[in-house]
């Protein structure tokens, strides 16, 4: 006992010292160690780059490094599992993109969104419908008319069933009242190549992946299905401007495991929001083609729910609901 006393005294003194130090810091006691940021996609893609920008900016706000760790595989569900199963102490967060909504129905091994706690919204990126410059479709209306005249004949390039571009075109079909022939490619870039080669007549992907081709006059963006025009292609009218009420897009949110203490959740939300609201961050993200529309816990959660309600019937109709069937 006597022997251990000085040691515990020392610890007590040290703890008091640290506590004083911690009080001096504006952020309080949390985070007291680096924050691990799980990125469920491989390095180099849009998700990875955007979240690295966020992590860099957020590190300054938290006063602790936010370390991005790539955990790709199984359509993002491996990384998402790591987020969901991490200790709910606020030191592990990660990116949840809109693909996670479909994944929970496609894959029985994927986590449900209800296993996760939304923290902040990075951006809500509108989708677009794109065609070749020499295509007969000059506007969205001409496309819709042609698709209605000959249902199922216009070939649209998209990704695999359940992927982002697949859900975009499926939602367009439903909202515009048309039917097309959906041809699957291994991602956005092969779909763009297929459109350039003339194998498909339209593609349904996000604006940043085609903006350069639009500017160069090789491809024509028929319309953007967002609330406002896209800054990378300001000459392209929205669907709404062309008389079609369709809001379709993808988003990236930051989330953690369920059950984080309320004060830590609040601190995380504030840190990420402050980081994303900085002018310098906005400019850096914009220069890389990212549309940043920051939001907090409430906005993120709302987005998850609306997307879920919008998507579920489409997945059900396409025979893609393999798990978590709603009654």
């Amino acid at each position: 006992m006597l022997k251990t006393l000085p040691k515990s005294c020392l610890i007590a003194v040290a703890a008091a010292g640290f506590a004083l130090l911690a009080c001096a810091l504006p952020a309080g006691a949390f985070p007291d160690q680096p924050i691990k940021f799980i990125m469920p996609w491989p390095p180099g893609g849009g998700s990875d780059i955007s979240m690295r920008l966020v992590a860099e900016a957020a590190s300054k706000k938290f006063g602790k490094p936010v370390v991005v760790v790539n955990r790709p595989g199984a359509g993002g569900s491996i990384g998402i599992r790591e987020i969901a199963e991490a200790p709910a102490d606020g030191h592990t967060v990660g990116m949840i993109g809109s693909g996670a909504v479909a994944a929970q129905y496609l894959n029985a091994n994927a986590n449900a969104l209800s296993d996760l706690q939304p923290i902040a919204l990075f951006g809500d990126e509108p989708a677009a419908l794109i065609t070749r410059s020499d295509s007969p479709f000059k506007s969205l209306k001409e496309f819709v008319d042609a698709a209605k005249a000959a249902p199922g004949t216009i070939r649209n390039g998209n990704d695999q069933p359940g992927g982002a571009a697949f859900t975009f075109i499926s939602l367009y079909e439903r909202l515009l009242g048309v039917k097309v022939n959906k041809v699957a490619y291994g991602g956005y870039a092969p779909a763009v190549t297929a459109l350039l080669s003339g194998e498909v007549q339209t593609i349904s992907i996000a604006v940043p992946d085609v903006a350069e081709y639009h500017k160069a006059g090789r491809l024509r963006i028929l319309g953007v299905s967002g609330a406002s025009r896209h800054f990378l292609a300001p000459d392209v009218p929205t669907f709404k401007e062309q008389g079609f009420d369709a809001m379709v897009g993808s988003w990236r949110t930051i989330a953690g495991p369920k059950g984080m203490p309320a004060d830590r959740l609040k601190a995380l939300e504030k840190g990420f929001l402050d980081a994303m609201n900085e002018t310098e961050f906005r400019e850096r993200a914009r220069a890389r083609g990212f549309l940043v529309t920051p939001g907090g816990v409430v906005e993120s959660g709302k987005l998850w729910d609306t997307h879920d309600q919008q998507l579920y019937p489409i997945l059900l109709e396409s025979g893609l609901v393999k798990a978590r069937k709603k009654g």
């Binding site: 180099g44 690295r52 022939n181 041809v183 080669s197 194998e199």
Partner: protein
């Protein structure tokens, strides 16, 4: 801007001290990971990507490109010395390269690999400089039906290149294609042939199968055939190729460059199909095809030139159109995005310094690689002197680490072990492993494009004959297959094969 001014501009970018350093660092790292089995350029470039946040855009691209083509140089080293293909594209190099090493010509084989890679690297760089935009448009002429024809041609090439029984070669390819079917169906998301095992959901990877069939099986059958004593390759006779050998490597390298560059332009498997096709072409053209598989110099020169040419040609669609033909090029696009540079059809016009800087660095990098690799040969061949009781366990450990590191999966190591046994058994019943790997690599691409072509045509198979590219390539494949299957050719093949040289 003329080509001369452009090159001067490029050299002024590539020759700044920091960019030269990055180019060298990339090439060195590429060689290292090429030599190490399992760890490929994709994983390495992915790990380096966060570092490039802090580099200049030109420096980042120069370094990453160096890793990629550097790996093509390094990949042949273990293929030749230990029959361990470091990359998919160096599988073919194993066939004759390792035979050469067993005959005491390891140094010559390594030098031939390096020199033919240099020839291919320089020529392809010139090709990019002169004709990138128009070549990229050629890539756009290919649609799914045409890819199907290209892939079938690749598979037929794999049949033609194999020794011995045609039926066994076809069987091996089909086994490879079947292995490729394991995993998640692209179109429906259904799991196929996974037997409910989670590690099989993402399919069977190339690296575990290749390491099992080649590296592990080689060791097992070596020990089995020598009652556990292991074989020691004959002492190294010569390090450097003779003048006659240098002459003999020139034309195969040139032909390999052309074949490789053509396949490199097309998405998917560029270096791999290129290397296999170049090898088959050399075998077809050769007056003494029986030498192939028994240490033919052309059998090293042509595929090595082809895989390097293809690796560099895959930059063409990426730089001039912003289209990545492979996952590696998609990473390069990511590196540009990090710096806010949008790749696309106007990249060359908008970013001349970056484009020409990268081109110039490729020339410099290829020279660096040869200067780096030729002196290293002296050291590499020492590996052959290591007693097998030290060498074999080290190879096995390296194989396990390499396989595990790809996706931190112990299941992959088990798959490698299983295929080590399969490879030993195949050797016993005289079926060659290379066509299995070719089937594994090309099968999934074939399926994807086949189904897509039918989706485009509304289910009508006539699409394969309507498109000129597809019809032409299918005709070539059919002709090759018929030629190989004709009984008299077959008899001739076998007699030549059994004749002592």
């Amino acid at each position: 801007m003329g080509i001369f001014e452009s090159l001067v501009l490029g050299l002024s970018v590539a020759c700044t001290p920091s960019n030269l350093m990055l180019c060298f660092a990339g090439c060195l790292l590429g060689t290292a990971i090429g030599v190490l089995p399992g760890i490929g350029p994709l994983a390495t470039m992915a790990m380096l990507l966060p570092v490039t946040f802090h580099l200049s855009p030109a420096g980042a691209l120069i370094m990453l490109a160096g890793v990629y083509y550097g790996a093509q140089y390094g990949g042949s080293t273990t293929a030749i010395l230990l029959k361990l293909p470091g990359e998919a594209s160096s599988v073919v190099t194993c066939l004759d390269g390792h035979e050469m090493a067993l005959q005491g010509n390891a140094g010559v084989a390594l030098a031939v690999a390096a020199l033919s890679s240099l020839i291919a690297g320089c020529l392809t760089t010139v090709l990019i400089a002169l004709a990138a935009p128009s070549l990229a448009e050629v890539a756009l002429a290919f649609q799914s039906a045409d890819y199907v024809a290209v892939l079938i041609l690749g598979l037929v090439a794999a049949i033609v290149l194999s020794q011995g029984s045609l039926l066994k070669a076809i069987a091996a390819i089909l086994v490879g294609v079947l292995l490729g079917i394991i995993g998640t169906d692209v179109s429906t998301g259904e799991h196929r042939l996974t037997f409910g095992l989670a590690p099989l959901v993402d399919g069977v990877g190339f690296v575990p199968v290749a390491m099992g069939l080649f590296g592990v099986a080689e060791i097992v059958s070596n020990l089995a055939s020598t009652a556990g004593h292991g074989t020691q390759p004959v002492a190294v006779k010569r390090l450097w190729p003779s003048r006659a050998e240098l002459k003999a490597l020139l034309f195969p390298s040139l032909r390999g460059t052309v074949v490789g560059a053509a396949f490199g332009l097309l998405p998917g498997g560029g270096p791999t199909i290129g290397a296999f096709s170049a090898y088959s072409l050399e075998k077809k053209l050769s007056a003494t095809p029986a030498r192939f598989g028994r240490g033919a110099l052309e059998g090293v020169a042509a595929p090595e030139a082809a895989n390097n040419a293809a690796a560099q040609a895959s930059f063409i669609p990426m730089l001039s159109l912003g289209i990545p033909p492979s996952a590696l090029m998609a990473l390069m696009i990511g590196a540009m995005m990090i710096h806010g540079i949008a790749p696309g059809p106007n990249f060359i016009v908008k970013q001349p310094a970056l484009f020409w800087g990268l081109i110039a660095s490729m020339l410099i990098g290829n020279l660096m690689l040869v200067l780096l690799n030729l002196p290293l040969i002296r050291i590499w061949v020492l590996l052959l002197r290591v007693p097998y009781r030290y060498l074999y366990p080290s190879i096995l450990v390296l194989c396990c680490i390499g396989t595990y590191s790809i996706s931190n999966s112990a299941a992959d190591v088990l798959i490698m072990a299983v295929f080590g046994f399969v490879g030993w058994f195949m050797k016993k019943i005289e079926i060659e492993p290379a066509p299995v790997l070719m089937g594994l690599v090309l099968g999934p691409m074939l399926e994807e494009n086949f189904r897509r072509a039918l989706a485009v045509s509304g289910g009508d198979p006539i699409i394969f004959l309507q498109r000129p590219i597809s019809a032409g390539l299918l005709a070539v494949s059919a002709a090759l297959l018929v030629a190989a299957a004709l009984p008299w050719i077959r008899r001739k093949r076998e007699t030549v094969f059994t004749d002592p040289l």
